[in-house]
């Protein structure tokens, strides 16, 4: 492995270990005001009247009438209001009560009454007529493939909501002073927040300043959502006489009111000729919730990924994101990938079962290779190491032997083993980097010879402060102590784009490497120097046509092969994970321990997604809104994971690195469901798959006997 991969101590280790790191909830609030949001209690309707109790001195209320700019949170499309009068989901912000005592604010809020004119909500995504986005892909000749097929096999798949449960809830502090709005808090994308604030406050770019505080986890949950909270806090800050206004969510509020992973419904038809899949028709629906937020890009990724890692020559895909009157679904690690990869991976095992062949071998026979066309008729430009990676985990787990051995078990405890293959397209979909983001990074050399990294990218736990530091330190041949990385502040850093899409290392890390090479060349002892580096689109890429979905959606891909072994207790329905083997190619790991941590963390989230984390909505209201009824994995739930890093260097990434953070959330769910299929001898098609689902299957099995 490249020697940049050997791990160094994380630069933010000690402050996080000893508790001295200051998160947004840790600022001294003695001189601050506290805000709490007035939220709708109905799913759809018009706000006719808000009756606020008499407010003591120092307390005030803000709503849509207080917004100097647009009552819109600028995201991709601007349909999310800052404060609503036209309610679209339960928990939607109508206004904010603010005052010096948080408890008092809470009691005033509980006395506040809202009168609505109720309208009929829509909760079922498949029945919704309001379609936010509708994408289509066509490649080859599906009609011909189906006409000549030996068999056509169908399957329908469902995935549920998933809540991020970053351990630190959302929070933001805002202050308006000397004509400047200064906002800081828990967030992934300072310039997204900045853009939204400029629109809502009607202040100039220079007069809006956004800073990231130490952030207690994001996973996509702090990608789009903080823009809304920041605007609400800013509107309150205008009225606060130069005091800071702070909003920090309670856990329940965070679960009710912030984005989640889109539930999905996927219908597939595969045509098979001579034992090979020749065609695919898939219909992908992701439930967007009440506003568009990130649904367009989530749906793009889902639509493009729906044929999985397989080379299927003739495909027709339709992807839709309907509106429902539920909390908007947004970004979550994997970004549409976990949904469709679950579907196609299960589908491939079902087809193999129908054909009476081994599913792992069947999958391996269909995987794409370098030079093949992608689903969007772009190209896999670089080697696809899936065969070698699969061989590793299949061997280490003794998959083939166990898989046979676990068929037809009858006792109380039944074991199963499952296998999945996935990719994650690295970076933004299509031409996003070139046309929208246009990233800029700065390196500033100080007189004393230290070098400061100036980018808008955030460390929310994934280790970016350390990996960026390593890239620059290594390129400049300086010890890491000579490199300065501070949390981004938009008044100091250029817009290097958001910290999303597994792009930070691959794209911004490479800008830093190039800047460092130039700085090394131009280095003048004792002088201050600034190097600016701008994004250049890789010349090999086939331009992406986002209307017809043609061309290279991604420059390159990260790959994952996973095996999971389980034991099912047929008496209780309990599903335990006995072992996990994962091989990952994320290019050169910039820091081996950090990458392993990303892989382990992602796998466990995907196993939770598959068999533990159930979040249901009844009449628009979330049922599972506490940590005691939305259960995430704990340390004894899953065993040690065996993580293997396979390195296929990406020439356009720094030291050969490509995207890492998200993919590990894609492969776990289909592998564990395949293992449960193996244990129960059945076909499965939905997650979360819970103990009660195990018992349902066993009951049906008995009835069939």
């Amino acid at each position: 492995m490249n020697n940049i991969s050997s791990s160094i101590p994380k630069i933010d280790h000690l402050e996080k270990a000893n508790g001295s790191a200051i998160y947004v909830c840790d600022y001294d609030t003695d001189d601050m005001l506290h805000g709490r949001l007035l939220r709708s209690s109905i799913a759809k309707g018009i706000v006719r009247n808000v009756r606020i109790p008499e407010l003591p001195d120092g307390y005030f209320y803000v709503d849509s009438t207080d917004i100097p700019g647009k009552n819109q949170v600028h995201m991709i499309q601007d349909d999310t209001p800052v404060f609503t009068n036209d309610v679209q989901f339960i928990g939607e912000p109508i206004g904010m009560l603010v005052g010096p005592d948080l408890k008092k604010v809470g009691s005033l809020l509980s006395e506040t009454q809202v009168e609505y004119e109720n309208l009929a909500p829509v909760f079922d995504a498949r029945g919704s007529e309001d379609i936010f986005f509708d994408f289509n892909i066509e490649k080859g000749d599906v009609e011909a493939a189906f006409a000549h097929a030996d068999r056509i096999i169908e399957g329908s798949f469902e995935t549920g909501l998933q809540e991020h449960i970053y351990l630190e809830t959302n929070g933001m502090i805002g202050k308006f002073q000397d004509g400047k709005m200064i906002i800081h808090g828990s967030l992934q994308c300072p310039y997204y927040v900045h853009g939204a604030l400029v629109d809502a406050t009607a202040l100039t770019h220079e007069n809006v300043i956004v800073k990231q505080d130490v952030t207690g986890g994001g996973f996509g949950g702090k990608e789009d959502f903080p823009s809304a909270l920041a605007c609400q806090v800013a509107i309150a800050a205008f009225k606060a006489d130069g005091k800071s206004v702070r909003v920090v969510f309670e856990r329940e509020e965070d679960i009710i009111a912030t984005s989640k992973r889109h539930p999905s419904y996927c219908d597939y038809k595969l045509s098979v000729k001579d034992g090979k899949v020749t065609g695919m028709v898939s219909d992908i629906i992701v439930d967007a919730g009440a506003y568009t937020t990130m649904s367009m890009v989530v749906l793009q990724r889902a639509t493009i990924g729906s044929s999985g890692v397989y080379n299927i020559e003739n495909i027709k895909v339709r992807g839709r994101a309907p509106k429902t009157n539920t909390v908007p679904n947004g970004a979550f690690r994997g970004f549409g990938g976990p949904q469709v990869f679950f579907a196609i991976e299960m589908m491939m095992t079902h087809v193999a079962k129908e054909l009476g062949v081994d599913s792992a071998e069947f999958k391996l026979k269909h995987i794409v290779q370098q030079g093949d066309l992608t689903s969007t008729s772009g190209k896999y430009h670089f080697p696809v190491p899936l065969k070698q990676m699969a061989a590793k985990v299949l061997k280490e787990s003794d998959y083939f032997k166990k898989q046979k051995q676990y068929k037809n078990q009858t006792g109380r405890y039944r074991k199963g083993i499952g296998f999945s293959l996935v990719f994650h397209g690295a970076g933004f979909t299509g031409n996003g980097e070139r046309d929208i983001i246009k990233a800029v990074a700065h390196l500033k050399k100080l007189k004393d010879g230290r070098v400061e990294i100036l980018t808008a990218n955030t460390d929310m736990g994934q280790g970016l402060a350390t990996t960026f530091t390593k890239i620059v330190s290594k390129t400049l041949d300086l010890p890491p102590e000579k490199i300065i990385f501070s949390l981004p502040d938009t008044s100091r850093v250029p817009n290097s784009g958001p910290t999303v899409a597994s792009r930070s290392i691959m794209v911004v890390g490479e800008l830093l490497r190039r800047a460092a090479i130039r700085l090394k060349d131009e280095w003048i002892e004792g002088e201050e120097q600034l190097i600016e580096q701008r994004y250049e689109h890789p010349s090999f890429m086939i331009a992406f046509d986002a209307v017809n979905f043609k061309g290279d959606a991604y420059p390159t891909y990260s790959w994952q092969a996973t095996v999971v072994e389980t034991t099912i207790d047929t008496l209780t329905g309990g599903i335990s994970i006995d072992n996990v083997w994962g091989s990952f190619d994320v290019g050169t790991p910039i820091d081996e321990s950090i990458v392993i941590g990303q892989m382990e963390g992602g796998i466990i989230q995907s196993l939770g997604y598959a068999i533990m984390e159930k979040c249901t909505i009844y009449n628009g209201a979330i049922n599972n809104k506490k940590l005691c009824d939305y259960i995430i994995p704990t340390a004894p739930d899953f065993p040690n994971m065996n993580v293997y890093l396979y390195v296929d260097e990406y020439p356009e990434g720094p030291f050969g690195a490509k995207g890492a953070g998200e993919m590990s959330h894609v492969g776990g769910a289909p592998a564990v469901l395949d293992a449960i299929q193996n244990a129960l001898g059945t076909k499965l098609s939905k997650i979360p798959f819970m103990p009660e689902d195990v018992l349902d299957i066993l009951r049906e099995e008995k009835l069939d006997d």
């Binding site: 270990a17 000893n18 508790g19 351990l167 207690g216 994001g218 736990g461 940590l627 995430i632």
Partner: protein, 158 residues
């Protein structure tokens, strides 16, 4: 009725005269400004708020001030001055076990209690001992490794 609640906090004697039903978590964070103790749920579910009371880890969000009269309490602010912390922190650092860090003050205090009760714990004991501390970032593998490593390197500390 006790009017004054007296307890020891990180080796300092404290006399508290406020409400007996206030939460220890709020007292630490809001009054003492000891913000190393985190709040992830306020319902006893996440372990981010855990502190050591008389040798055992307890979720401070569920502890009423009235119940700690005479108790000895250690928070991360106190623990981080000890040699045991040094060793544990180094072990966490060596495997990059800290990601976002929000769970970590609680995680380190729970790890301390595991090692205090059993200086050479098995992996299962470590995992069980950490079961009250949620971590959404790491998948726990690196944390478990770090605790086992500290136990190995700790030579007589625990």
């Amino acid at each position: 009725m006790i009017d004054i609640i007296k307890f020891n906090l990180n080796d300092k004697e404290i006399s508290y005269t406020g409400s007996a039903s206030a939460r220890l978590l709020d007292f630490l964070r809001d009054e003492k400004k000891m913000t190393g103790t985190k709040c992830g749920c306020k319902e006893g579910e996440c372990g981010a708020c855990c502190v050591i009371i008389d040798g055992k880890t307890v979720n401070s969000c569920l502890v009423a001030m009235g119940s700690i009269h005479g108790a000895s309490i250690i928070t991360i602010e106190g623990y981080s001055k000890t040699e045991r912390f040094e060793t544990l922190s180094k072990a966490f650092e060596s495997v990059s076990a800290i990601q976002c860090g929000f769970c970590m003050p609680g995680m380190l205090l729970s790890s301390e209690c595991i090692l205090d009760g059993n200086p050479k714990p098995s992996e299962t004991i470590v995992r069980e001992g950490l079961s009250g501390n949620l971590c959404r970032c790491t998948g726990y593998n690196s944390i478990v490794k770090a605790v086992l490593k500290a136990s190995e390197k700790g030579g007589g500390l625990w």
